[in-house]
């Protein structure tokens, strides 16, 4: 649909004016304030604040656990999306609805309940502790809650693509002599990769910024289980505002690169489907 003439319908000036004013006040000025504060440090001080060994360890950990959780979610998401689209089983609608729970459940609740489940005497921890697996208050715990918070993304990006997939292509592959497994690997899987990557990037981005669920399940050990948002909190509590802003700027930079990547992936997967 193309837009209408500005004379045909009223409200263009009011609507756009309000939109831009609100966007500027609530989003752009605060973002600028953060960048200005970080810039007030000067290049060498900025590096000294944002690139300390402790900060680098925090970035690495944040990056690593988010990546691991998002990678796990590719596998889980493909299995769940495939099952929900292709098979019929009792309780399917309930399972489909439950997939969205991580998007609606407050992250604090997720952190609280995961921490309590995976402590050594928790519902699940009691089975893991004898195996020598320490899930609560460890990096594994952080990955676990991030798998939870990022779970819906791959499922929800792959599902519609799988639904739109023509049965004819699979039939053609079969008629031409491909086995079911070959058909999956060579015909179906390639079309699922772009949406799965989009879901991965969304889950990854979500993991990088996550705070509420993580602080319940991490032991907050410097260099070991301290994620970048926690370090920002520490600097704030020390009243080191510029240092906090410097670390925040690094995080913002990573987020914006990811946002651009997500937009590109979405554009590509749309082109493939359409």
């Amino acid at each position: 649909m193309s837009g209408v003439s500005r004379r045909a319908l009223p409200g263009f000036g009011l609507g756009l004016g309000y939109t831009i004013t609100y966007l500027t006040l609530l989003v752009l000025i605060p973002l600028a304030a953060c960048l200005v504060k970080a810039a007030s440090l000067g290049p060498s001080e900025f590096v000294a604040a944002a690139w300390t060994p402790r900060a680098v360890a925090a970035y690495k950990l944040t990056f690593g656990v988010s990546f691991a959780a998002a990678a796990v979610n590719i596998v889980l998401g493909l299995i769940v999306a495939w099952t929900l689209v292709r098979y019929e089983f009792p309780g399917k609608r309930l399972v489909d609805a439950l997939v969205d729970v991580p998007l609606a459940l407050p992250t604090a609740v997720a952190g609280l309940v995961y921490a309590s489940l995976y402590v050594p005497n928790g519902w699940i921890g009691q089975f893991l502790t004898p195996l020598g697996i320490e899930a609560a208050y460890s990096r594994l715990g952080i990955v676990l809650v991030l798998v939870f918070t990022g779970f819906p993304f791959v499922v929800r990006t792959v599902q519609p693509v799988l639904e739109d997939l023509d049965a004819e292509t699979e039939e053609a592959a079969s008629v031409l002599g491909a086995s079911r497994w070959q058909t999956f690997l060579r015909v179906i899987l390639p079309t699922l990769i772009p949406p799965a990557l989009t879901g991965f990037a969304l889950a990854f981005a979500r993991g990088l910024g996550e705070y509420g669920s993580v602080i319940f399940i991490t032991s907050n050990k410097i260099f070991e289980t301290e994620i970048a948002p926690m370090l920002i909190m520490v600097r704030l509590e020390e009243y080191s505002y510029a240092e906090a802003a410097a670390i925040a700027t690094v995080l913002l930079g990573i987020s914006f690169v990811l946002l651009a990547a997500i937009n590109y992936l979405e554009y590509r997967s749309k082109r493939n489907v359409g």
């Binding site: 009223p10 939109t19 609100y22 098979y87 997939v99 609606a104 609280l112 910024g209 704030l236």
Partner: protein, 306 residues
């Protein structure tokens, strides 16, 4: 479609039946694959989501319903947290509704320079870490800034007070309503509004009598998602609140404080309220989704050869 072809497609010829059988097998998986994947799916969703949900309610009511109720009602700080969330979230949602409608109207109905950039900027808050979002407001309104001091001297406390909670919450939920409304408004199209205009309707008449009824399901959908996130927001609110007991603790912050104080039954009692809120949100979402989809995929789409 002619009557003949309708008849033909309704009654398959023997040849078509013969062909359909092997092709059907070609798109189906063997039973062991099917049952393995269904089992895995139930296991994944059960372990990841089902068990934690059950555990919230089990731990909240572990010492009986009386204690559960007492945990929610008897503590004045917990009561205040519930009250504060019921104030902060609706105000933030209302701000974003006004913005969402204005943004959707200008973006869906008109073409202008920078439109693509504007759409990207609206999504921006989704990619900002909540802690960074909170930090930004501390950097503007904190007591280390001239603005913060000036506001305090004139009797306005922003940071460590409800106004900052509203700002931080509005920031993290900023895109929700606009994102839902833009596609709905685009799909509905401007025809009815143009007709109303040509019949002499004023701008606000047109808005209240034509536009709002057309987008009501999309608007409601956006409000529900926005509200769920607003009530559950933790990171951004954590930073700007100062976590003053009985003053700036919202429900999720209170949950964390109770957990820190090792008062698990009370933490889980409050968490169970938030969980019920999430479940109600999902139920409403499932109910409203078909109506939103009907609005964004008007009947005319199929006739156009889609």
């Amino acid at each position: 479609m002619s009557a003949e072809s309708a008849l033909a497609s309704g009654q398959p010829t023997p040849a078509a039946v013969f062909q359909a059988a092997p092709l059907r097998r070609a798109t189906r998986d063997p039973w062991y694959v099917r049952w393995t994947l269904i089992g895995l799916t139930l296991g994944i969703v059960g372990l990841l989501i089902g068990v934690p949900l059950a555990s919230v309610f089990a731990q909240a009511t572990a010492k009986g319903l009386g204690v559960y109720w007492n945990n929610l009602i008897a503590n004045s700080d917990t009561r205040h947290a519930i009250f504060l969330t019921m104030i902060v979230a609706p105000v933030a949602v209302a701000l974003n509704v006004v913005f969402g409608v204005a943004a959707a109207w200008s973006i869906a109905r008109f073409r202008f320079r920078g439109r693509g950039l504007l759409i990207t900027l609206i999504d921006l808050p989704f990619s900002v870490s909540p802690v960074v979002a909170g930090l930004m407001f501390v950097l503007i309104f904190g007591m280390q800034t001239e603005l913060g001091l000036w506001l305090r001297d004139h009797g306005y406390q922003v940071i460590f007070a409800p106004p900052a909670l509203v700002l931080a919450t509005a920031f993290v939920t900023f895109p929700f309503v606009a994102r839902e409304l833009i596609p709905v408004l685009e799909a509905v199209g401007p025809d009815e509004e143009l007709a109303a205009r040509s019949l002499g309707a004023s701008g606000w008449q047109l808005f209240w009598w034509i536009t709002v009824p057309n987008i009501k399901w999309g608007l409601l959908y956006g409000v529900i998602l926005c509200n769920a996130r607003a009530m559950g927001e933790f990171g951004a609110v954590y930073v700007v609140s100062g976590r003053i007991e009985g003053q700036t603790d919202t429900m999720p912050l209170r949950v964390q404080k109770l957990w820190e104080g090792s008062d698990n039954p009370a933490a889980f009692a409050l968490a169970s309220v938030l969980t019920m809120l999430a479940l109600v949100t999902l139920l409403l979402k499932v109910l409203i989704e078909p109506k939103v989809r009907a609005d964004t995929e008007p009947a005319g789409k199929n006739a156009d050869g889609e």
